[in-house]
């Protein structure tokens, strides 16, 4: 049955019939009063049936061809008032060879002399629908993948460089509930202060010079979680090589980054320990060997000499060597102590009483040269430190200043604390002999380096001091001018 047979087309419209029948589009019609369904030749064609292979009636239409699951939606659509520009309905119909396939139908309603009629045109959209479903499926898979990878994407358009588009995952990483539009500045403000200029500069460089970047930054999320993120971006350029937009990603690399930082810390610790070991090797190679060599030398000479005066002289040297050996072993012991004491707990150290104690222990040395000692620890009266280290540091620096005082003036030695930002500094200043730093530089902290022809210079004090300070994560610097004085600046923490 088709419109051509029982068609109600008339007049000028008659010539449209063959055209309509030729279309790869089915036309159906439902009469609400008679509950009859009719359809066009094309209707058979889109369902792959031969003409009249299936009976054209309401039962076939509703119970056989239309997928039962889509029936409520279809009935709903034809029974309700149909808006002028209502979107087409997507339904499944049974085809002869390929089972149910997706179709799209328009729905129009009309009241005329034959009653209330609904009609529409049916087109096979199976291929597009499949692609749709597939891409929706892929989208879900991608979303899951991005979610699992904790990976989000962002984009800044060169036309409006203060706004940034963010993917859902970025909002998730930032712990933001609402997907508010963020400005670039707001986006950057989620990172910890030291990293903000880094990111801003990187973005600017990409916008201006098309330079890609890949940086690790520390984020403080809306819920105050600290998180390491990798922020990476590439420029998108036009034919003239100008950057039109910056496309980037952010990824949660927190656990990897923290492991890496821990590893770096371990490496630094190992490097320090290694350096101390090298110092051991150095002492053994230079100092112990020099003493044992001399001992051997003297013993051999002793055997080759005959007069008792000569032998006595050589023996006195042997005694000196024995004392030197003892001292060197003591120095080695002090370096070993740095190693073992570093594991000791830090305690609050009150600087003023400790400094006073050291001064009274060195009273004789101070009085002998009539030195004036000024200690001022008001800026930072106490610090969490290993007490034995602090004692050793203060004592070494004071001894050092007393030893290298200038003979032409009263020695003035100042020791005070300073706080600056998050750091605590200990300053040690004297008006002594000074040292030519251009010539000796950092060597003054080296082992067994002495620079003045001073008989009690051993070249171990500053070496130990530097090691103790560095072992606790600080550093020591020296400023000095010959005949004016020396100033040690120690960053304690």
């Amino acid at each position: 049955m088709s419109f051509s047979e029982k068609g109600k087309l008339s007049g000028d419209d008659v010539h449209l019939t063959p055209l309509i029948n030729d279309l790869d589009t089915g036309i159906w019609k439902y009469n609400f009063n008679t509950r009859e369904v009719k359809w066009s030749t094309g209707f058979y064609k889109v369902l792959d049936f031969q003409l009249n292979e299936i009976e054209c009636n309401a039962y076939t239409f509703f119970e056989h061809l239309l997928y039962h699951g889509d029936k409520p939606a279809f009935l709903n659509a034809i029974n309700n008032r149909v808006a002028e520009n209502a979107p087409p309905l997507q339904l499944r119909f049974l085809t002869k060879k390929n089972g149910y396939q997706w179709f799209e139908t328009t729905i129009r309603k009309q009241d005329n002399e034959h009653g209330c009629i609904a009609y529409g045109s049916l087109v096979n959209i199976n291929r597009y629908k499949h692609n749709d479903l597939l891409s929706a499926h892929n989208q879900v898979i991608n979303d899951d993948a991005f979610k699992t990878a904790r990976l989000g994407s962002w984009e800044i358009n060169a036309q409006s460089t203060d706004t940034i588009q963010l993917s859902t995952q970025v909002y998730d990483l930032f712990d933001l509930q609402n997907q508010l539009n963020l400005s670039v500045e707001e986006f950057i403000s989620f990172f910890e202060p030291p990293y903000r200029p880094v990111l801003q500069d990187a973005i600017n460089l990409t916008l201006e010079h098309s330079r890609p970047f890949d940086i690790d930054l520390l984020l403080r999320s809306a819920k105050n979680n600290m998180l390491w993120l990798k922020v990476k971006a590439v420029p998108v350029i036009n034919h003239f090589g100008k950057c039109t937009s910056v496309k980037g990603i952010v990824q949660d690399i927190d656990s990897e980054k923290r492991k890496l930082l821990k590893l770096e810390q371990s490496i630094n610790l190992l490097t320090d320990q290694n350096r101390r070991l090298q110092n051991f090797a150095y002492i053994v190679s230079h100092n112990l060997r020099s003493h044992t060599g001399n001992l051997q030398f003297m013993v051999n000479l002793f055997e080759q000499t005959e007069t008792s005066e000569e032998r006595e002289e050589i023996f006195s040297h042997i005694k000196t060597i024995s004392d030197s050996l003892d001292l060197t072993i003591e120095h080695i012991n002090e370096i070993v102590k740095i190693q073992t004491e570093i594991t000791k707990e830090r305690k609050m150290v009150e600087l003023e009483p400790m400094f006073k104690n050291i001064c009274s222990a060195l009273k004789n040395n101070i009085e002998a040269i009539n030195a004036r000692i000024e200690g001022n620890f008001t800026q930072c009266p106490e610090i969490s430190y290993i007490p034995a280290y602090m004692e050793s540091i203060l004592q070494n620096l004071l001894t050092n200043s007393l030893k290298y005082s200038h003979p032409d003036r009263q020695p003035v030695i100042k020791c005070y604390t300073l706080t600056e930002g998050n750091h605590i500094y200990l300053i040690f200043e004297d008006n002594g002999l000074g040292i030519d730093l251009e010539r000796y530089g950092d060597k003054i902290f080296g082992m067994y380096k002495t620079f003045h022809q001073n008989t009690d210079a051993k070249g171990i004090g500053l070496f130990i001091t530097r090691n103790q300070i560095e072992a606790l994560g600080g550093n020591i610097k020296v400023d000095s001018a010959v005949n004016i004085g020396t100033k040690f600046t120690i960053r304690l923490a």
Binding site: A281, F297, M298, N300
Partner: protein, 147 residues
């Protein structure tokens, strides 16, 4: 004529007084014919080099320690290399150090003005060899160029 010539000049540049004492003693025991001068660091030796107004005052041999206060052996070699072209005498420099440190040994090998690296304490036979060689060389120079 050879027997008539002056003994070689030896400069010991070393701050280790015991070693210097032993070295002098050993040179005496071995009967080596040399005039000895001792400097306690590189700076002192350098000053003496600068002040030498006669080639006869200049050393034939320098026995140089590495670790010394004020000016160490390396610094001295830097200054020595600058002075060498102006000096009218061939001066042989031996490093004498207790250091077994390979860094020190390689560093010495790379300085062309250094003839050899001798571990402290020097073996008596080695010491006589050094002097024999230097005296022979000094004599050859005299044969070639006159005084």
């Amino acid at each position: 004529m050879i027997a008539e010539r002056d003994p070689v000049n030896t400069w010991i540049v070393d701050d280790d007084s015991i070693y210097v004492y032993g070295l002098k003693k050993l040179i005496g025991i071995k009967g080596i014919n040399t005039r000895l001068s001792h400097f306690i660091n590189g700076q002192e030796a350098l000053n003496a080099l600068n002040n030498a107004n006669d080639d006869h005052v200049l050393p034939d041999i320098i026995l140089l320690d590495i670790n010394m206060p004020i000016m160490d052996g390396w610094e001295f070699m830097n200054e020595f290399a600058k002075l060498k072209p102006q000096m009218g005498k061939n001066i042989t420099v031996y490093i004498m150090s207790p250091s077994l440190d390979l860094n020190d040994i390689h560093r010495a090998k790379n300085i062309s003005e250094i003839t050899d690296y001798i571990f402290k304490p020097v073996k008596p036979n080695h010491l006589t060899e050094i002097f024999d060689q230097t005296i022979r060389q000094a004599n050859e120079n005299i044969m070639k160029y006159g005084t």
